[in-house]
Symmetry: C2
Subunit: 122 residues, 2 copies
DNA sequence: CGGGATCCCTAGAGATACTG
DNA sequence: CAGTATCTCTAGGGATCCCG
């Protein structure tokens, strides 16, 4: 798995390296959306208000390159592509969960995403 | 404490809101450096290879504005300013720890910072 | 449907020099 | 010492149009 990770030489700090993989404006949301179900490109685009197709493509390619998500192409007419979390991708969910919990507890942000399945938040 | 947080209207997702506060290239490192000791501006600058004074100032101001760090000014000649974590700032350490651990475990990054005091990493 | 290609454009980072 | 002030410059995001 590790071999699939982009080797960003400028990332020496593991925190920075992690943020390089799961951080940014869109990646946490993408990972969160894929947490429970496979989604198509158009499905993801709809669930992420305001993202352009170019940006969504870029984020998905990077997540795929890092081995977090799987891209399955069905050679149909019209074409269908489904994205899902890999087993490796699932290992970041607890980390996202930690970020989410701190945001809710200390920043008073409500979780606009589906907050039912935060692992064991009371 | 919460009232001290900048109200970024564009941050609805708590994960994004958290990353707004502790994310980026420099903030995790600053918080990490301050974890065990007060540091002066020059001390921080030395421990963070390559950061410009302008950028360091900006990051410190934002962290202060968000209530994570305390800025103490000693009216001496030459002037002395010391930065330290607030109690609120200490609450993010476990989150940083989670990011750090994932980076080390799954990205194979070594912790170049002082990795002794990662809470209870075996 | 699921993108790619192109153009544009500005926020923000670096470098350098200066100051109370 | 602990920062500002100024300038420059480019990576990266939005908008638009096109393609297999």
């Amino acid at each position: 798995m590790v071999s699939q990770i982009r080797n960003n030489k400028h990332c020496q700090c593991p925190v920075e390296a992690t943020l390089e993989v799961i951080g940014g404006k869109w990646k946490p949301i993408i990972l969160w959306q894929l947490r429970t179900e496979k989604l198509r490109f158009s499905g993801l685009q709809q669930s992420m208000q305001g993202i352009s197709p170019k940006m969504l493509t870029k984020q998905l390619r990077e997540l795929e390159e890092d081995g977090l998500i799987l891209r399955e192409i069905y050679p149909e007419i019209p074409p269908r592509v489904e994205y899902s979390l890999t087993e490796f991708g699932k290992t970041v969910l607890p980390v996202l969960d930690a970020l989410c919990k701190w945001g809710i507890e200390y920043l008073g942000r409500e979780c606009l995403l589906d907050d039912q399945s935060l692992s064991d938040r009371s």
